[in-house]
């Protein structure tokens, strides 16, 4: 957590008061929440009334996807458009709507770098039956940035609410929500050095999704529940830093990431970069590097790199902790086996050239080992 966000959390957590209460301490808590709301709105170029605080990205995604679907379904629209590479916080609600609410889901295909097919979405929008269209701003696994401005425009033309999960994008990409014109945008605290368990849905003020959480009617009666004043205040500090330092942060990450990619590709013959290959353009998150290693077991590689003090990720795991083949890579056309031999290296504020050196010292040997471990004798 950012020291400034941490300080703010401690400050506010010392105060008593429920922002929903009408007495003096309640009013003080409410003032803190409203100042945070205004601060976030100003940073992201939207109106304070657009900010709906939630318990994080997953809840904001669920509210947008289910809530907008239900609102549309009440008006005879039963379709959902979602990209095939969405985060599970979108993917699973959409699947759930299909299985339990008879939503007609159109999974928008992606190309080999993971970018959505705009024509396919255009065709689907033209049916007039779509309740909500959701495409993430940038992919959490391979870092591919989606054409969200075009998507928002297309959806507006068809009168379809557009939601985008911007959890990965915040702090790495420039974010002007007024210029974007999306109906709903998800952001989350912990990805930008804010607290865990706080996020927001930035929802156009005149839009009314059906609530997922019913109760006290907080947050425009869209999201009930007592507001977490310390978390929200701290979140606002993190958003401020993310936005004001975005340009400089992105430049530093891009430089470091490009060195990492270049050196990994040179040092490991079996490595392929996944996602957008244009490392200088705006099509890829600047801090993302994602590789496949031919014939290599990702979880074996993870173990070896973990032992060398390098954190990386093979994608998602089920509840029991079993790594699953990435739906993102599968949607991009990879085989299940190749998708298991893939790793993401994310850079962050604290990453340095020395970290890249350490990775390069460990990686070639680890890949070689993990490749040998990937051909078990029992298959013979």
């Amino acid at each position: 957590m950012l020291p400034s966000a941490q300080r703010r959390w401690l400050e506010v957590s010392g105060l008593v008061g429920n922002p929903s209460s009408l007495h003096d301490s309640g009013r003080r808590a409410r003032r803190i929440v409203e100042e945070a709301r205004e601060s976030i709105a100003a940073d992201l170029h939207t109106r304070p009334s657009a900010v709906i605080f939630t318990s994080g990205g997953t809840e904001a995604d669920n509210l947008a996807v289910k809530g907008l679907f239900w609102a549309g379904a009440a008006n005879g629209r039963s379709g959902v458009i979602a990209s095939a590479v969405e985060h599970h916080a979108v993917l699973d609600p959409v699947t759930w709507l299909n299985e339990h609410e008879s939503a007609k889901v159109s999974w928008a295909p992606v190309d080999s770098v993971g970018r959505v097919d705009l024509d396919a979405i255009q065709r689907e929008l033209a049916t007039g039956l779509v309740a909500v269209c959701t495409v993430m701003w940038a992919n959490n696994e391979v870092g591919t940035v989606q054409p969200v401005a075009e998507l928002a425009q297309m959806c507006r033309e068809h009168g379809v609410p557009f939601h985008t999960d911007a959890v990965q994008a915040l702090g790495q990409l420039r974010m002007d929500l007024q210029a974007l014109g999306a109906t709903a945008v998800t952001i989350s605290g912990h990805k930008i050095g804010g607290p865990f368990g706080v996020g927001a849905l930035l929802l156009e003020p005149d839009v009314k999704p059906v609530p997922v959480l019913h109760g006290g009617g907080q947050e425009r009666e869209v999201r009930s529940g007592t507001l977490d004043a310390p978390g929200i205040a701290s979140f606002a500090v993190a958003v401020r830093e993310a936005v004001t330092q975005q340009e400089q942060h992105a430049a530093r990450m891009r430089e470091l990431r490009n060195a990492l990619v270049e050196r990994v590709l040179a040092a490991v013959p079996s490595a392929h970069l996944n996602g957008d290959p244009d490392l200088s353009g705006d099509g890829r998150l600047p801090a993302n590097a994602h590789f496949s290693f031919d014939g290599c077991e990702g979880d074996a590689l993870l173990l070896l790199l973990d032992a060398a003090g390098i954190d990386c990720s093979t994608g998602s795991a089920c509840t029991a902790g079993i790594p699953e083949p990435s739906h993102v890579l599968l949607a991009m056309g990879a085989q299940a086996q190749a998708s298991r031999g893939s790793l993401r290296f994310s850079l962050g504020r604290d990453s340095t050239q020395a970290d890249v050196d350490r990775l390069l010292a460990a990686l070639p040997g680890a890949v070689e080992r993990a490749t040998r471990a990937g051909s078990p004798r029992s298959r013979a």
Binding site: L302, L303, A320, R377, S378
Partner: protein, 361 residues
């Protein structure tokens, strides 16, 4: 040593890994996900969600790295499919033995060695002793828990890279130690059933997967058809219960399954004397050290996980293991393993292919 500890989430493997850490080894814990349907509520055995969590919490407590490895495809192929195939052929396989042979001490061990580990440690009750024959596999001190039978398929190279930290102790001590160490698995019940048949109903499991294959239950002495069955695979040599014979035997005594003809879908029942065998022919023999030769060697033979060993002489003949038993064994099915011992030391193992009856029908 760099040790990879297989952590099932049970009390035994928990204590085994704790001892490895205490011994100063560089230990990494791995839970093997053997079933994709791991989250089925109420299932027991070695592949449930609770077990994965328990294993992870023990690893947290011991402050060692922990991973879940998905070996479900190998397990489905090498253990579950093998189990079905064997039953389909009228044999009675031992899936725990097969899992040790193909998964824990082959797929896992291979992977561990390739990743730079020196050994795999498990919570099995057996001892590996440095002796005249190199790394020797011996019975555990706790005769009730001894698992040398299901480890009898291990060969020298596997024993060299295996560690069984519990072999010198009895189960009560291990439980007490788990309690003392504050491991949350201390009071978990022992698992007895086949892990992929959590309700213990093997016949139903086989029927669901192999389909109904109706046939007859026949009196081996008279040739009379006594009843119908819906799959010969639901029967095991030596079985007495659940035959549901409507016609009592001529001598009024209980009858047992004495023979199964899978091709004809006929299950033969008869008096228990027909179950007594005094010679076993085993195929696919494996040896912990030197193989036997064509010269008969004194040994003892065990045919069940917790069966009593029987004095025997064994030799190899055309690559098959021939075991002459000093006293007869009752109710031995093909597909079971015969494991040979020299005292407490395991010599080797083979799969029972034929038996010779003491009394001919």
């Amino acid at each position: 040593m760099r040790v990879l500890a297989a952590m099932s989430g049970g009390v035994d493997s928990s204590v085994a890994v704790a001892r490895m850490v205490d011994a100063g080894h560089d230990v990494t814990g791995v839970h093997l996900a053997l079933s994709k349907s791991a989250s089925v509520p109420g299932s027991r055995g070695c592949c449930t969600l609770d077990d994965a969590r328990d294993a992870r919490r023990v690893a947290d407590r011991l402050d060692i790295p922990f991973y879940v490895w998905d070996l479900s495809e190998q397990f489905a192929h090498d253990v579950m499919q093998d189990f079905l195939d064997e039953y389909q052929q009228g044999n009675t396989p031992n899936p725990c033995l097969r899992c040790n042979e193909r998964i824990k001490f082959l797929a896992l061990l291979d992977r561990a060695l390739a990743l730079g580990f020196d050994a795999v440690a498990t919570g099995h009750y057996a001892r590996i002793v440095d002796g005249r024959h190199g790394k020797e596999l011996h019975r555990a001190v706790d005769a009730d828990k001894d698992q040398s039978y299901v480890l009898g398929v291990l060969e020298g190279w596997q024993l060299e890279h295996s560690l069984f930290p519990l072999g010198d102790d009895v189960k009560e001590q291990v439980r007490a130690e788990a309690e003392q160490r504050g491991l949350l698995t201390a009071r978990k019940p022992d698992s007895h059933d086949i892990c992929f048949i959590p309700d213990g109903d093997t016949a139903a499991f086989l029927r669901d997967r192999l389909g109904e294959q109706p046939g007859e239950i026949v009196d081996v002495t008279s040739g009379a058809v006594l009843a119908a069955h819906d799959g010969a695979f639901g029967f095991t040599i030596g079985q007495r219960r659940g035959l549901d014979l409507r016609v009592p035997a001529a001598d009024g005594r209980p009858r047992y399954v004495v023979d199964i003809d899978v091709a004809a879908r006929r299950v033969f029942v008869g008096p228990p004397a027909l179950l007594d065998v005094d010679q076993i022919v085993g195929i696919r023999p494996t040896w912990t050290a030197e193989p036997l030769t064509d010269i008969p060697t004194d040994c003892s033979a065990q045919v069940r996980a917790h069966g009593a060993p029987v004095t025997a002489r064994a030799h190899l003949s055309d690559g098959q293991l021939v075991v002459e038993l000093q006293e007869s064994i009752r109710g031995l099915a093909t597909g079971q393993a015969v494991v040979l011992y020299d005292g407490s030391r395991v010599l080797g193992s083979a799969t029972v292919a034929h038996t010779r009856r003491v009394v001919r029908s």
